[in-house]
Amino acid sequence: MSTPASTVAPAVSETTDPGRVEKPQKKALTERARAERKLGWMLCAPAALVMLAVTAYPILNAIWLSLQKSDLRFPGQSEFIGLDNYVTVLSSSLWWTDVWHTVVLTVISVAIELVLGMLLALAMHRAIFGRGLIRTSALIPYGIVTVVAAFAWRLAFSDADGGFMPGVLRSVGLLGAETDPLAQTSTFSTYVVAILAEVWKTTPFMALLLLAGLALVSDELHEAAKVDGATTWQRFWRITIPLMKPAILVALLFRTLDAFRIFDTVFVLSNNGSNRSVETVSVLGYNTLLSRLNLGLGSAVSVLIFLCVVLIAAMFVKGLGTNLAQQRGE
């Protein structure tokens, strides 16, 4: 699931909304202003209600279920057991192994995407011809169904599925004759394929977010620095990067949260979740909830994933906040 950068930007600019100035006049609401208010609420209500009903209610329900001993294979036997499910999850090595897999996949993919995304954004920004061509090509990985992309990588790398990559890798001596890169035992190569698939799919999105930030960097600054004798490299690090910092943080926020929720790619590469060598927390949640139908434990996993996401978001928002505050202070 991808979300545009726009998701943060207007919320931030909201604090400087000129509409706020009118607040003191609240008491003297004219007929028209009152109608405007009413219309505003009426227009927002359906969207707000739907969002509330389909996210707030289920997450509260998940919290409630996570405090129960509830297994759909044994209906009618649920009982309130307090935090026992959390104790079970947090004291199992499986949870921590899967957290580790998720963190490794997230950090490495997002780091590679940032570098490649920046290069792609610079190429889209500066290309002297063929901009439409590279933009169109880059949008194909963005738009393609994630499951399809994951299968393209799996069918290329898996020996069992007859991929062409094992042969290529063996001919250059990177893979043993008997090893299947996507077998249960091949943790390292499964990581590599998962990261490749993730990076291929989402680098264009990263690049588009960065491209929006790149458009803000004025050519005059670059020209001035050039006249002063700055090299291309110096101009990139001293002008482009600092000016793009907010755009970079927003792009990193969205990609990190997205990567942390990684499900489709890992599910497909691990043969529908059965190969656990790089199982992520979302796949663990799915398996507990829907394969083993353990609603109590599965809900505890869901709530813990939710808390991780909140934590990551809070860290970024704090970073973003201080960054914007610094800019305003100048």
Partner: protein, 280 residues
């Protein structure tokens, strides 16, 4: 000077070629795989030794019955309905956010932002449970509801960014001429907003078309199973190998609408994804 120019042209040609190959290679690989004949599909060759359309014939008419055809119909129907509803609700909210003054605006935007970051897996369990009680499990509505919810934030933000660009004075002029706020919305803003609405619809459609988590959790049969879920449950010769040919052919078919949209609307998609970011 001309030598420098030709050097530049050469290096940009190289850069563009690398980007195009990197972006298209996996797609071309799956296309090549789908065109292999049944006996050569797992031969590990990059280019088919023998071209055949057997795999396509197989998924549309073959032994698997009409699993794929039904999934394709479900995918299209569910994605289109979810897009229509999400865009309608979002357009109403975005209009209010971009144009009207009312308390609670920030609450809506913050809630939308929170939902944009929300992990879908966290609501899958309760929804599965609830949908079974309400009879929504394995139905179109059962998928349409989560899809429209999870695309509303994206739609609201993208649309309100577009709506802010619309010339405000025209609406005021209409109101001076006696139109009510609602008439001004319907007759002046809607036509001006159409391009932004269209762009948003493309992004929402791509999300719904793409989803996998909800599709495999909230459906179980061909009644509502969408293509990504159907592909992942295609059965192969053994537990450990995938029915490569059918998967590849199905993969190519679901990719075609995306490629068509990207080819026709690439400018709009880029504008939609970066809308508002520039203002930040």
């Amino acid at each position: 000077m001309s030598e420098r120019t030709s050097k530049k042209v050469f290096s940009w040609t190289a850069v563009n070629t690398v980007i195009v190959i990197a972006a298209l290679f996996p797609v071309l690989w799956i296309l090549s795989l789908s065109l292999k004949s049944a006996d050569t599909v797992t031969d590990g060759r990059l280019i088919p030794a023998k071209f055949s359309l057997d795999n396509y014939e197989g998924i549309f008419t073959g032994s698997g019955g009409d699993v794929f055809t039904k999934a394709l119909f479900n995918s299209l129907g569910i994605a289109i309905i979810a897009t229509l509803i999400a865009v309608t609700l979002a357009a109403m909210a975005a209009y209010a956010i971009a144009r009207l003054n009312f308390p609670g605006k920030t609450v809506i935007l913050t809630a939308a932002l929170a939902i944009a970051m929300f992990p879908p897996i966290s609501v899958v369990g309760p929804l599965y449970n609830l949908w079974r009680q309400l009879g929504l499990f394995d139905t179109w509505q059962g998928l349409i509801i989560p899809y429209m919810t999870f695309t509303l934030p994206l739609a609201i933000y993208t649309l309100s960014a577009f709506f802010r660009e619309i010339p405000w004075e025209l609406e005021q002029a209409a109101q001076v001429d006696g139109a009510t706020p609602f008439q001004a919305f319907r007759k002046i803003i809607v036509p001006l907003a159409a391009p932004g609405v269209f762009t948003t619809a493309i992004l929402v459609f791509i999300f719904a078309w793409n989803d996998f988590v909800f599709a495999i959790s909230l459906t179980s049969t061909e009644r509502a199973q969408t293509v990504p879920a159907a592909i992942s449950s295609f059965t192969g010769a053994s537990q450990f190998s995938a029915p490569t040919g059918s998967i590849a052919a199905a993969a190519v078919i679901v990719t075609i609408p995306i490629i068509i949209m990207v080819l026709i609307f690439q400018r709009r998609i880029v504008a939609g994804l970066t809308a508002g970011a520039v203002k930040g």
